[in-house]
Symmetry: C2
Subunit: 353 residues, 2 copies
DNA sequence: TGCCCCAATGTGAGCGCCCACATGGGATCA
DNA sequence: TGATCCCATGTGGGCGCTCACATTGGGGCA
């Protein structure tokens, strides 16, 4: 039961104004929560709105005023599509959608996703097209775009609010992230606390700021606890199963093989799980595993994976909130760091010996 | 290198018209691929567009003309958010986004997601608000909304193209789906072909048309092969791990326990895997498993899961294509059935005895 | 009482585009 | 050669809303 006009053409602000016996502008003020409207009038208008089932047209609002009620989240085309096509899982997009959509909805906003190529020249051109076409009130840049200063500069020139996801502190502007370095430190401390001294690290890759950050945290923790670190314990698996398998094989073949391995995502952690099994070793008895993603499926492996939960949905939700606040005049800059969680499950225990 | 105007305010159709020495309308014709523009003029205009980096403003296009260049995909709020919050995985949203976004992008369209409650009254009201606010060129209804005739009627009244996802043939209008019944028949035939005669079925639930469809296919195949079917082999797990665990336990405790189990999604298939292991039985030696979802993680279980791949991204992509065609005058109705794939991996083999 | 100020409302214009229609010139036909 | 057509282009108007500004009225202050 949306209203009395159900079935007819669109209900405009004009209709509401007429019904409430006021001008368009006063109705507009009520819609936009502007001050200086008499409570009695406001209520009368609200009743007319409810009665007619009036909902402002977003395109017209954009045309008339400054706001578009749109937040655009930019993902890397290649990483998003190709990885998925190749069958690689990813919790990222789901979480972004859930966190962002919910936050946007609460303010009458909409969030939409766009894909942009990582290549610097293409990225700028594509982003510029998106801006021209959509004129969003804010743009969320995810890695690797969030590290691209040219894009940030472009958005600044176009005067569009920009939230950067998961970039290290040094960058300026609005940033929302989790503390990957601290998380890695925490994980390493946890393993050291269990008695591990030979801890391996399967990194995603050195081009990801996040991965480098985590590696620092891992090294920090090892150094702080005076645990010697063999550089060969640190290996790159590119976030993928097969390379991670091979690297784990190599790790297990070392004379001072690690008794615990940290992996930068779940897929690599699973590869580690399999490789350890293949080598005739036990998880977690012989080798403990901690992952850095925590997709829903990790609860169902044998044993279920101990993992760091990245608060992606919260991060995107916070980014949306910030951008909307910004579009409404609040231009607080700064870095917002959201808490992560280490979820201890079945792949970690004290080392045997 | 977007164009010469980089840095200035918005480039409008007016600027292009002036530069090319024609009227706005002629530029508009070029943008919209209308006929009756001299090739020479068209090229001159195109050059001006490229030079200025002109991109039409989507809100203005919506205001002036009939099209909004927006396709909205409607998901169930509860199923989408609550399940995810409770830690249950779901490949659905990712695939929708990938398939839909790519198809939309190819036509200069954008796709956005909205959540709507399943409750019939709320659903209609919420959908009506979405229509009034966004005026999309088309709406994609996913289950359970795609089975809600009131929503379909509302969209028809509002003259908005509607594509329904995964509803059985009997419903009219534009429908895009996979043939779940045939897929279930195929899976069952495959298992029967391997030599299985006692085949269990872990269904998602009887309120999902898709699940009922699959059950029919399973029963068809059993009947066609003259394999007797014990009704107690068919159980409901609500798509969730824990209930599926219990039902599998019950299944395994039967005197004529199944030698193969079909599950309606991956999470339940994993539960089955664990339950069989717990019972001291082997997969696939003692019991074979086939799942009906094929999320990326299934490749990494031990053994990797044999599963039916639902072509969700293709389905949503096709729905987007249909809706865009419809917005441009092509009003072909009908059911579009996209092919699925049975991916045979490590959880199926001939039964022991 | 008169003045000013500000809260509460209304008015005109325009955002950038596409629609309907009007207009001009060439080819086509008798 | 003139009438007819249709292709190629231009013009005016308006979509639904918000902006900047104008206007009204009532309360506080001297």
């Amino acid at each position: 039961m949306t209203g009395a006009m159900t079935g007819s053409g669109s209900v405009t602000i004009e209709h509401v104004a007429e019904m409430a016996g006021v001008s368009r502008q006063t109705v507009s003020r009520v819609i936009n929560n502007s001050p200086n409207v008499k409570p009695a009038v406001k209520e009368r208008i609200q009743q007319a709105i409810d009665h007619l089932g009036y909902v402002p047209n977003i395109a017209a609002r954009r045309m008339g005023g400054a706001k578009s009620f749109l937040i655009v989240a930019i993902n890397d085309r290649h990483r998003t599509l190709e990885n998925w096509r190749a069958g690689h899982g990813n919790d990222w997009v789901d979480q972004m959608l859930y966190g962002g959509m919910t936050a946007a909805e609460a303010h009458g906003y909409h969030m939409l996703f766009e894909l942009v190529d990582a290549d610097p020249e293409m990225a700028s051109a594509q982003l510029d097209r998106i801006i021209a076409s959509l004129r969003p009130d804010g743009i969320i840049l995810t890695p690797p775009h969030s590290q691209n200063e040219a894009l940030v500069a472009l958005l600044a020139a176009r005067k569009i609010g920009c939230a950067r996801i998961n970039v290290p502190d040094e960058f300026a502007g609005v940033t929302v992230r989790m503390d990957d370095r601290a998380a890695a430190r925490e994980v390493t401390d946890y393993l050291i606390g269990l008695g591990h001294r030979r801890i391996g690290y399967l990194s995603g890759g050195r081009d990801y700021a996040v991965c480098l950050d985590r590696l620092s945290g891992y090294k920090d923790a090892m150094a702080a606890a005076d645990v010697p670190l063999n550089p060969d314990w640190v290996r790159e698996g590119g976030f993928l199963f097969d390379p991670a398998s091979r690297e784990t094989d190599a790790l297990l073949a070392m004379p001072d093989r690690p008794t615990a391995i940290i992996a930068d995502n779940d897929e690599m952690a699973f590869a580690t799980l399999h490789a350890i099994d293949r080598a005739g070793l036990q998880v977690p008895g012989d080798v403990s595993i901690v992952s850095f993603e925590d997709t829903p499926g990790v609860r169902f492996s044998v044993p279920p994976l101990t993992a760091v939960r990245q608060p992606i949905s919260d991060i995107i939700g916070a980014a949306v909130e910030r951008l909307i606040a910004r579009a409404n005049g609040d231009d607080t800059d700064g870095v917002l760091t959201l808490p992560h969680t280490l979820r201890i499950r079945g792949t970690t225990c004290a080392p045997k010996a």
